[in-house]
């Protein structure tokens, strides 16, 4: 009984301690951001490893998600004789929900995990303390460029995902299933609004990019500097990111589309 209570207390304290450390770490990152701004070559290197290397994954997944949406949507909508609205369905679900969420989940798996592993390994092999010894701030030099690169890459990757998805849906709907091309695009354009749909999707992806990279770099920096610790941190990074994305998506959707 008493041990159980102690266990609950200890876990709660630990959760709050982690949250606090994460927040302090975030502030230190934000202060360290002037380093990659001052030296853009650091940022470009990270944009390459975080953004460009995720590009192909996003491209292929976006294409297939869009094609599946087109196919499934067609089967359901044709029951109601409403195949013409397939464009609306594909574009709205991609731009509002699937684009930001799926690309953030893929991003967490592809880039977030590698960020955690890289930083964790740097810590385990004492490269970070080595930098501190040489009076180079590891936060500004290592963490901040990675954080900024993730934050900037996410909306771009999401936009690419949504675009390719819509084109995939177009390919299946118009190319294979023979929906009228004009109806596909015009219904899409009349239904989707630039500010309400596209901009809200971009805001979502910015939030997800922020949270996913924050979790990834914090888990790496906070990892226990052993092989097992790094492996655990990588797992935690992906799991926490997935939870954060799905939870935040609900909150953001309720805020953005609640009164529509």
């Amino acid at each position: 009984m008493f041990e159980n209570l102690q266990y609950v207390g200890r876990t709660t304290l630990q959760v709050f301690e982690n949250l606090g450390r994460g927040s302090i770490f975030l502030i230190r990152i934000l202060i360290g951001l002037w380093e990659p701004i001052k030296r853009p070559s650091l940022l470009i290197q990270q944009l390459y490893s975080v953004g460009v290397l995720s590009f192909l994954l996003i491209l292929v997944s976006g294409l297939f998600v869009g094609m599946v949406l087109g196919l499934q949507g067609y089967y359901i909508l044709s029951d109601f004789g409403a195949e013409q609205t397939l464009g609306v369905m594909v574009a709205a679900s991609l731009v509002r929900e699937l684009g930001p969420v799926v690309s953030a989940l893929l991003f967490a798996g592809r880039a977030g995990s590698s960020l955690t592993a890289e930083i964790g390994l740097m810590k385990a092999t004492e490269q970070l303390s080595g930098m501190e010894m040489m009076a180079v701030d590891p936060i500004g030099r290592i963490i901040a460029p990675r954080f900024l690169a993730g934050f900037l890459s996410m909306p771009l990757l999401t936009a690419i995902f949504s675009m390719i998805g819509v084109l995939g849906g177009y390919f299946v709907g118009v190319g294979l299933l023979g929906i009228d091309e004009g109806a596909f695009w015009s219904q899409m354009q009349t239904t989707l609004d630039f500010w309400d749909d596209i901009v809200n999707g971009v805001i979502k992806s910015l939030v997800f990019g922020f949270v996913v990279t924050w979790i990834a770099v914090f888990q790496g920096y906070d990892a226990i500097p052993t092989a097992e610790g790094v492996s655990r941190a990588t797992t935690r990074s992906v799991v926490y990111s997935a939870f954060a994305i799905l939870g935040l998506d609900f909150v953001l959707t309720a805020l953005m589309f609640g009164d529509a």
Partner: protein, 157 residues
């Protein structure tokens, strides 16, 4: 840190592709392209009942979309709905005796405002009000009327 040219080129490609995708979404997928450049003017209409009309519902003349519903408000003195429509500036030749009706596109489709141009020499401008309006057809009311007439008819016989 010296960067290889490939890395810089790839990053440039990536950022460009992302921006093109955003541009594509803005122009091709959403309605931004239909309102670019040219402005719009507001005309008002009073309806007894707007039915399922919503903000951003289309306003059309002869089936061609010329604008959108901007706001729908309730006049608490006259007990009618006031609908503000923003009409694109290039369609500035609507006569002042134009009438507005609320129609439904398709059996279950969304509702829109259809404008029927009159024969007046003067044209509508910013803030003008349409005098001739026809409310939305509410299905329940129609069925109610129909049943009432039916009952009336059978009572007479």
């Amino acid at each position: 840190m010296q960067q290889s040219k490939t890395v810089v080129t790839m990053v440039g490609l990536f950022v460009t592709a992302g921006l093109i995708a955003l541009f594509f979404l803005a122009m091709q997928v959403s309605n931004l392209s239909s309102f670019q450049g040219n402005g719009s003017y507001i005309i008002k209409a009073r309806f007894d009942n707007v039915g399922g009309l919503k903000v951003r519902s289309p306003v059309s003349v002869a089936g061609v979309r010329v604008g959108r519903v901007k706001t729908i408000t309730f006049d608490k003195k006259a007990y009618v709905a006031i609908v503000d429509m923003s009409i694109e500036s290039r369609y500035d030749t609507l006569p002042t005796d134009t009438s507005a009706s609320i129609f439904t596109s398709g059996l279950l489709g969304e509702q829109y405002i259809g404008l029927e141009p009159g024969g007046d020499e003067e044209f509508l401008g910013e803030g003008d009000t349409l005098e001739l309006t026809q409310s939305a057809l509410v299905l329940e009311e129609m069925i109610g009327k129909f049943l009432f007439k039916k009952a009336e008819g059978s009572a007479n016989n």
